[in-house]
Structure formats: C-alpha cells, structure tokens
Amino acid sequence: MSTLTYDVTAVRRDFPIFETGIAYLDSANTSQRPKQVTGAMLEYFEKFNSNIHRAAYRIAEEATVRYEATREKVRAFINAASTKEIIYTRGTTEAINLVAYAWGRKNIKKDDLIVLTILDHHSNIVPWQILAAEKGAHIEYVDIDDKGELRQEQFAALLKRGPRLVAFNLVSNALGTINPAREMVAAAKKAGATVLVDGAQSTPHQPVDVRALGCDFYAFSGHKMLGPTGAGILYGRRELLEAMDPFMSGGDMIKTVRIEGTTYHELPWKFEAGTQAIAEVIGLGAAVDYLNGLGMDAVRAHELDITEYAYEVLSEIDGLTLYGPPPSRRAGVISFAIDGIHPHDLATIADRDQVCLRAGHHCAMPLMTRLGVPATARASFYVYTQKEEVDRLAASIKEAQRIFA
C-alpha cells in the first residue's frame, strides 16, 4: 500500500470526534479512537458483560475468549514468540514499573550501572531513579547531539562499563527522534545488559518486531494506538518473566492460596492480579485489527508524508525554531518554538481555532533542561491526520504572531 492509495478521508469517517471540527495534533499524547474500538467495547458491555476466567457460563466464556484473543493479536502485531510473553497492564508506565519492581528489585544491586537516555520519558526515568536510590545503583544518561540524536559514541563508552540494565525509548515523544534501536539493543546485549525498550511511541506508528529487535522487555500503551485508555502491554522474554516474582498479587494470579502460603499461576496470568480492564483489552484488540487493516507500512508512510509536509510548512514561518532530526529520521512528531511567544500562549491561541496543540515539557524535563527551554510546542500526527490540519496550525501560528507583534 503506497501513500498514494492511503485514503485519509475514509479513515477519518471512522472517527466520530472529527465531526466536532477539531484539528487534532496531539496524538503522541493520546490518539483518537475509531468507532470499531468503541463498538467492540460496547458489544462487550451489552452482549456478554461478565468477568473472565472465573465463571462457567457462556457469556463469561465469550468474554474470556475475546479477552484472550487480544493477546494473540498483540503477539502477532509485535511478533513475540508466545502469548505467554504478553502481559496486560494499564499502559507503558505500569509496564515499566512492573519491570522495575518485579525484575529490578531482584536483579539490580549496589553499584550497578543503569543506562538511560536524555530523550527518555519520565515513565522510563523515575522508576529507575527510585530503584537506584533503593539499591545504591547509578544511572547514566546518554546525551544527544545538535540534531536531537543520541550520541552513539557516548553510549558505546557507557556500555564498556558493563551496565546491568539499558532502557530507552525507540521513538522520543518530545522530539520524534527514531533511535537506532536494533543496533543499540545488540550492543547492549553484547555488553551483558538486560534491555528494556519503551515502545510507547513506536508501536502505534511503525511495524515492530520484538524478536528482530532482540530486547528483553518492550512496553507500550493502547491509548496511543487507537485503543481505549486503561489497557497497555508489557512484552517480556519468557525466561525473564518466569524467573520474576509477581508484581501485584490477589485474585486470579494464584494457583492455590492457603494460610500457609500461596502458589502462583503460570504466565502470563502470574502478572495479572485482580479483575483486569476487560472491556479495554477487548477494545485494544479491535485497535490492533484496525491498524492491521491499514497496514503498518502504510501508516508509517502516511505519517512520513504528513511530517515532511509539516516540516516544510513550519520551516517557512519566520522566527520559528524546529527541534530534532529531519523528517526521514523522525516519527510524526514536531517540536518547535516561536520567538517571543511562549508555547502555552501559542497553544491557547491555536485552541481558539480548534487546533489541539501540546505545549509543555512533554514529560521529558531532563531533555527540556538539556535543550535549555522550559517547554516546547509540539504537533504530532497519526493515521487520521490530513494536510489541511497542518495548514490550520500554520494559520494559528501566524495569528499568534500578529497578536504578539
């Protein structure tokens, strides 16, 4: 499927929210959801609403089958070896915290080195800071160059110090930088590290193959890939997951509970304590179906097309600074600044035109500090983004410049 045949108008018809007239340029924050996804949730609520794994009646079986079907869909979507490696979480943040607690507390020791990057999201920084403080471990951050790309020679130098854990995002949510993850994972594995890849911004936007990637853990959020809020995924290699203790405990993750002690359920359920976000997991399955229907190569091509267009349009605006690498090496995310106008004021003015633009630190304060700015404005794109929305953004920027002239 080439970009020429990508029919964004048809895609937009699946998203009722666009009837409100908004130009939605904040998909890196959370995506919109097509009616196929909300429809799958409603079908659960209205036809077979019940708890899973626990009951002997048919609607509960239906719910269980649908709930588990998402696991296989997700497995295939990221090419994991087994559904046992697919753990449901609330999102990327919970997935990373699960690893920090259930793997980290057991495996990170005093004076161990953890390597992160300055591009990382708070969700891939703070859990490691807390763990490092608890264990007396150290953290080093790979820096970026002027283009917003990781300094690979510095990364290589850090690997020489034998880190216990390397964790980084495949795509930066703040700059859109696509990191050379395959090479980085290979080097980190060679250096003996366990590797977690934060896939929050990659999974929704490009084909992902965790086995080709070679990482040990891979985390992402359903709500950024057309799924509902409340459901996300931790992928973990089976040996590692098997060796880990549970994270949360309670109903469903156990085999037997006795006063004297308890035995745990097998993978993946060992990590899924209590009633899960059933409707949301079913919705996530519908989101994966939807993305497969478009084709992830086509999704990437469409976003690249929009990103190149936006890059061009924004470059032409006087007093506008673009952060990050050129379009071909970035995802559909553009962070920028306008001389003399604070990003929040810009976002407020854009909002008056129903242009939804993000302004802030994008949960990447260390990166903002590194760039020497308190905040940036950010436009981000997805399957439903059309060029006309980019034009509306440009018009809002010009309007802001007029007001602040």
């Binding site: 003399g340 004021d345 008056r352 035109d353 602040f404």
Partner: protein, 134 residues
C-alpha cells in the same frame, strides 16, 4: 470552526501583551525586606518578587521571572497594584481580584499561570503554603 479567530484578541487583550512585552517594575531590589520566588513546574513559569517594606507599607517592589504572557502580565499588573499598599491591605487581595484585573476569560488550564504571582505574594509575605488552603 465554531470560534472566530477574533476571539483571540479578546483573550490576549492589548494591555496584556503590553504588560508582557513591557513589564512594569521588572528587575531586582538591592536590599529587599522580603524576597520570594515560585514556579509552576508543569509549564515552567517562574515569578519572583522583591519587596521593600516600611511601617507596614510596600514602598518599592520588583518582579522577575519568565514564562507565558498570562503569568508575566499578571505579575506586572500585581506589582503596579501593590506599590504603596499596606501589607494588611495586600493580604486581602484574592484570586478573583487578580483574575478580574486581567480582565479576560481564563481557562482552567491557564489559571495557575494567572495566579502564580499571587502565590509569590501570599507565600513570600505571609508564609501561606498552599493557595487552595487559605
């Protein structure tokens, strides 16, 4: 689009832009009696104020900081109002006063920007820790 572009001008009234671009009482005092700074970590806005107080009257005042037009214009407007005021009267200034003075319709997301300078006053001059708890 449901809202006409001219609505922006209503929000960012000229005198706000003016106070933003030409802040009054901007800078530092050499020997302030009170000096306090607050930030709004979520958006990175910073406002600090230096007060010179004599017999309970704010004789001189300067502010410094950086951030959006709302936070900086609001600080500029507040310093104009505070200069020459007694600390007792200053204590009575509340959220509605500050928002009223801005004279614009502030959305919930921006209200913290508008009130940052008031927080500096309250915490700096009266040690109130949390604006919501007054």
């Amino acid at each position: 689009m449901s809202t006409p572009i001219s609505a922006d001008d209503q929000f960012y009234r000229e005198y706000i832009i003016d106070h933003y671009k030409n802040p009054r009482n901007f800078g530092r005092l050499e020997r302030p009696d009170i000096s306090h700074e607050e930030d709004n970590p979520l958006c990175g806005d910073v406002v600090g104020m230096d007060f010179q107080v004599k017999d309970g009257v704010i004789e001189d005042i300067r502010f410094h900081g950086r951030g959006c037009a709302i936070s900086q214009a609001s600080a500029s407007l507040l310093t104009e109002r505070l200069k020459g005021m007694t600390l007792d009267d200053a204590k009575k200034i509340n959220k509605d006063d500050v928002i009223g003075e801005l004279g614009i319709d502030i959305s919930p997301a921006r209200i913290k920007c508008a009130l940052l300078s008031l927080k500096v006053l309250k915490v700096g001059a009266y040690g109130l820790a949390d604006l919501d708890e007054e």
